[in-house]
């Protein structure tokens, strides 16, 4: 190799020995090569400085020590929710129209909401696992909105009802079959504090 090559590149001093490094290198699967020394990197008088390696935008590891605070519901609202006073409704795949059994259920739910009129109600829209996160978020919103609109049409004050979509993020059944999917395509209702 011509001697000028490294000098032209102004590469720095690094005189190194290979010695047994080849054989010891963990990924070398073969017997040692019959070799004594490696082609040593030549020295150059004007060694260029090494490039500093940096994470330009490495993103920080999140602080996991601070545990999130969960809000607690009033005991009565919690109790009613635990008892399942408000019944969930279900939807067909990729649909947000209310089915006839859902309409019947919503009639019962509206009555219960009237009975416990001191509580606001949150309507959650949910989807099965098929389809993307984003599409299902929008679909879950449509489902929650369809339920809300019908409850309002039954006389439930709109200002008592809030909606939120969880898309496919909160499955009731984590299975990957028709039964699980049917269960997961739903709107759920819960009493809120105050």
């Amino acid at each position: 190799m011509p001697r000028g090559v490294f000098r032209n590149l102004a590469l720095p001093v690094l005189t190194l020995l290979l010695a047994s490094a080849m054989a010891a290198c963990k990924s070398a699967p073969v017997a040692e090569a019959p070799v004594t020394t490696p082609p040593a990197f030549e020295s150059g008088p004007a060694a260029q400085p090494a490039e500093k390696v940096d994470e330009t935008a490495g993103f920080r590891e999140a602080d996991t020590s601070a545990e999130p605070v969960r809000e607690s519901a009033s005991s009565l609202a919690e109790k009613l929710n635990a008892q399942g006073v408000l019944k969930r409704i279900h939807f067909d795949f990729d649909r947000y129209e209310l089915k006839s059994d859902a309409i019947r259920t919503l009639g019962d739910d509206a009555a219960a909401m009237k009975q416990y009129s001191q509580f606001k109600v949150r309507i959650e829209g949910h989807c099965d696992e098929r389809g993307t996160v984003e599409y299902n978020l929008a679909l879950g919103e449509k489902r929650a909105r369809a339920a809300r609109d019908y409850l309002v049409s039954l006389g439930t004050p709109a200002n008592r009802l809030s909606i939120v979509s969880f898309g496919k993020e909160r499955a009731l059944d984590s299975g990957h079959n028709e039964e699980a999917w049917a269960l997961n395509r739903r709107a759920e209702f819960s009493f809120l504090t105050e």
Binding site: P29, A33, T56, R95, T132, V133, E134, L137, L139, S162
Partner: protein, 443 residues
């Protein structure tokens, strides 16, 4: 098999063959949707241009197990980067023993040529234990000359970073295109009942959790400069658009009053976020100008409009809408006008992503048995299928060089992040054991 066209910047010929697969309308498909015409879906079966055979002998290293491990990590990482790039074939290591490593103080170029190596990477690790100094040199064995020489200094735990830097230089040397070895992938992964945002290297190494609020955090999207990630979070109860920067500082993207705010997508110039909001009562696509937090509504339909994806020139936006009865991909101008439907072949298409070259759009489509990833060539209007019948394959996103895709799949039972070449070949699994999805590849 018919050769259709060459993709200019890569000279990567893609061979298309008509596959036997024809999507059939499913029983559950909405009744408003017309039956699928029996148009054969074109399957891309991948052919590549000749690869450059490259040999990477073990780097020189000071004695000691630790030094040799670091040197080995750097070499292995460079090798994997070059292999992944698709431009190189790695000369098998067992051939190296046929070459004299020291031919009288010279490199035995002819012997390296003899085992098929057109290119050769020699590396050397510096002797200092507290700091990592690595020098890499790339040789052309035919011309018997150095093509590039680079010396890097870093912290002892930055072996992979140094390797990626060197890999990028080597790719640049041969292709005149920047390598992607320093790019990263953001994704969502389940932690207990919560879902948090993670960032990892493009090869799946060094995963790092960047949110820890215990809530549901979804849909990470890189800013073009790689210094910020927009995502959606339920941390305040309602789904809100947030932005986190690389310092870990978290802020709401703008003042939001309930309803759905999701699906952020950064414009190529970094000035604007396209996103989905139900703030006016229905899921529509909006633009958020980050300088003054002003909002512009782009879509007006009673249907679902979501998942905006920018064209690389920032002039158009692809999105999903079910305005025709089931989700399909539509295109519109970035001002909201000139809306037209892109996909007609399959009854359910979603999650478009525009290639960096602007000539293709990938998306997820529902097929019998699950979801697969498809590609639409905007010039030829041809459709290619990139995955086939393995449960759910979704949310494809382009690598910065437009040669690879990252996506989520539950082919093993749980959702994991995978990459593949843009012809559907060389599928690699990047995550394991979690429930990980919604990948976004940094520019």
């Amino acid at each position: 098999m018919k050769l259709l066209r060459r993709f200019a910047w890569l000279s990567l010929p893609l061979a298309f063959t008509a596959a036997t697969t024809v999507a059939k309308q499913e029983a559950q498909a909405p009744p408003t949707e017309a039956p699928i015409p029996s148009v054969p879906i074109i399957r891309i079966v991948g052919a590549a241009r000749p690869k450059i055979p490259i040999a990477l002998p073990a780097p020189q290293s000071p004695a000691g197990a630790r030094a040799q491990e670091v040197a080995g990590t750097i070499r292995d990482t460079v090798r994997d980067d070059l292999d992944f790039s698709g431009f190189f074939s790695i000369v098998p290591e067992e051939y190296h023993k046929l070459v004299r490593l020291d031919a009288g103080g010279r490199i035995a170029f002819k012997e390296w040529q003899g085992i098929g190596a057109d290119a050769l990477v020699f590396g050397a690790l510096g002797p200092e234990p507290a700091t990592l100094v690595f020098e890499g040199r790339l040789y052309d064995t035919a011309d018997q000359k150095v093509l590039l020489g680079k010396r890097y200094r870093g912290e002892p735990d930055q072996a992979r970073l140094i390797a990626h830097r060197l890999s990028n230089e080597i790719v640049q040397q041969y292709t005149d295109q920047p390598g992607i070895s320093l790019s990263r992938i953001a994704f969502v992964s389940q932690v207990g009942k919560g879902k948090e945002i993670y960032v990892m290297d493009y090869d799946g190494a060094r995963p790092k959790r960047i949110t820890a609020n215990g809530s549901i955090n979804l849909s990470p999207a890189w800013s073009p400069d790689g210094r910020q990630i927009a995502f959606m979070s339920y941390r305040s109860g309602a789904p809100e658009l947030m932005i986190i920067n690389h310092e870990g500082e978290l802020a709401k993207a703008f003042a939001q009053q309930g309803g759905l705010n999701s699906a952020p997508a950064w414009s190529p110039d970094g000035d604007t976020l396209a996103f989905t909001s139900s703030r006016d009562g229905n899921a529509e696509i909006y633009l958020l100008r980050l300088a003054d937090r002003s909002l512009t509504r782009l879509t007006h339909s009673d249907a679902i409009d979501t998942s905006p994806a920018w064209s690389p020139d920032g002039r158009q936006i692809a999105f999903t809408s079910d305005r025709a009865g089931s989700p399909q991909i539509y295109l519109m101008d970035a001002g909201g006008g000139n809306v037209r439907r892109l996909t007609t072949e399959v009854s359910y298409c979603d999650a478009a992503s525009w290639s960096p070259q602007g000539d293709k759009i990938v998306f997820t489509a529902r097929v019998p048995g699950g979801f697969d990833i498809f590609l639409k060539d905007l010039k030829t209007d041809q459709m290619g299928r990139l995955t086939e019948h393995a449960n759910i394959n979704e949310w494809p996103r382009w690598s910065p060089d437009g040669r690879h895709l990252v996506f989520a799949s539950n082919r093993t039972g749980n959702f994991d992040i995978y990459t593949m070449d843009v012809d559907g070949s060389r599928v690699r699994r990047l995550t394991r054991g979690g429930n990980s999805y919604s990948p976004s590849w940094s520019r």
